[in-house]
Symmetry: C2
Subunit: 336 residues, 2 copies
């Protein structure tokens, strides 16, 4: 029972030095995201948890991935934006509860580690965290021979934030007559890519610039990073504006909005109240996708929603606009 050549871990496909190098580069990128609460002690990254601006701080966490949007990164070799998407998916989920994202941990797994690709990904994660004012405090780079196709990888992110105990937004206070404000998305964000690829790829190459996209390539439209709503939403909340509910519009389209609405109420969305961006129309036409399926799968141009009292809707819209968002009045809450 002897092999002629001794086996080794590197021979089995795992390169510890490459892993250390990737971790070290990721650590450098992470430092650019540090909030003032961060302290490093002998390489240990710590977050001061005295929360002196909070009377009764509650931690809230969430995990997410980027999904099959990654396939577009693989096909184009552009890996510096999907990290932004990863952060966006996690932090946009936290702010819908009224929480301030604080700390982020990325996980990156691939079959054979390419340190250039891993570095591009890390830089995207760091850029996302800077946009979200959230600190990278660790993370993991895993080399898993035989798990991923050559050149492919998966990513996951975890984020924790803090919220004042009596400031948690659950949707419970939503009333009939409340107005639904929709904040413009930057594109598909990170959802619906399995369908989008099936619709588009039989008809287009990713470098194509179809006239519908006004000079933008499909690759660029499909890789547009998910908008991060952290700074605008937290700024609006800080004004004391009455927000009865917040929803992060993701994978199953507007279902995330319906989930926060009390059972006896429903949301009437007027899909004519905003302009559906051309990328969605292109996908719909290319794939012959039914309108209902489009709304069940994609954000259709609205990435985040706020439910507010009708009397405040115009003022809160203006506040969102002041903080850089395009806000539409997209619907109203009704009794069932």
């Amino acid at each position: 029972m002897e092999n002629s050549t001794p086996l080794s871990y590197k021979g089995a496909g795992v390169d510890i030095e490459a892993g250390d190098e990737a971790s070290s580069r990721a650590f450098m990128a992470a430092r650019s995201t540090y909030r003032p609460e961060i302290i490093e002690k002998s390489g240990v990254v710590l977050f001061d948890a005295r929360f002196q601006n909070y009377r009764h701080p509650m931690l809230i966490g969430g995990s997410d991935g980027v999904g099959t949007k990654l396939k577009i990164a693989f096909m184009t070799g552009r890996h510096n934006t999907v990290g932004i998407d990863l952060v966006a998916m996690c932090v946009n989920d936290l702010i819908r509860r009224g929480a301030e994202p604080l700390v982020f941990l990325p996980y990156f797994a691939t079959g054979k580690l390419n340190t250039e690709v891993a570095e591009q990904v890390s830089e995207g994660v760091a850029e996302g965290c800077r946009r979200a004012n959230c600190s990278i405090v660790g993370g993991e780079t895993a080399e898993m021979p035989g798990f991923y196709a050559p050149g492919e990888y998966d990513m996951a992110g975890s984020c924790f934030g803090v919220v004042e105990n009596d400031g948690i937004i659950t949707g419970e206070s939503i009333q009939p007559g409340d107005i639904i404000l929709g904040l413009a998305s930057s594109g598909l964000h990170s959802n619906g890519y399995s369908l989008a690829r099936r619709a588009i790829l039989p008809h287009y190459a990713l470098e194509d610039t179809p006239s519908e996209l006004n000079g933008q390539s499909l690759a660029s439209a499909l890789l547009e990073p998910t908008r991060i709503y952290v700074k605008s939403v937290l700024a609006v909340l800080k004004t004391g504006a009455v927000i009865n509910g917040l929803a992060h519009i993701t994978g199953s389209g507007f279902r995330k909005l319906y989930k926060i609405i009390p059972k006896e109420l429903s949301a009437r969305i007027d899909s004519e109240s905003w302009t559906i961006p051309p990328i969605f129309k292109l996908i719909q036409a290319a794939g012959n996708v039914e309108q209902a399926e489009m709304f069940n799968t994609f954000n259709m141009g609205i990435g985040f929603a706020a439910v507010v009292p009708a009397s405040d809707a115009t003022a809160i819209s203006a506040l969102f606009a002041q903080h850089g968002e395009i806000a539409y009045q997209i619907g109203v809450i009704e009794k069932r």
Copy 2:
């Protein structure tokens, strides 16, 4: 540019209902892990962050995966233990800083969601969290068509814990003459599986019960969950015992121990001071793996290490034993 049949998201390989079902089962398992600090408000899981038992609480986080140990779960169809490994990898990393693990977020990604498999995995994660006294406060189940081979998946976990600012263990106080205590591992834990599989699989079937394993099957030996050292390590720290350094012995064997030792010092490990478990000897023989490579890849029977003053070594060993660990004096710290 019309397809004859309209495309749909489900047709594209993503089943939202199956995802919801898996999430719902995972949520039930998560509830069995709740610490008293957890509050659920309208389905939102929150962790009370007042930390009233801490003078200056610091948060510390870490992410990890299970690596290619998952391949053994795929080959055997036993998915209820790898979740324990996932938690173990994360929480054992936190306690080496003296931190108490508090909250955990799992990520599970697969090509086509099998709710039975996902449920087994979730139950393992919950069991790991109960062993670590750590609460599952969220998580993500991702269906990613085309990313994973049929029947395969990947997992990642993230954990945050709390540590008293002046109680953080960095290894800086390690002195020449300090004794290294090694705590017995339960087997391979979650590292070295790429090499282990290459060594073993050409020669054995996983259901084989080689005489070296005293009746245990290879499948069972290889799937033995990673030991979770949280309760014993925190109990020993709570006694006020002087611990100068703690190391979680993982992927690169004892390198994790060397990393915490001040540069001017080194560790002399006596590999005859404990009994190397038979699974490691079997891997070494089957794969004709050199001894140095074995120690660079596997934990070789020691899953966690504590560096303590020589005068306290016997007493601290006894404390670990009282809390269920097998502790060996495996080495000594020396000047370089």
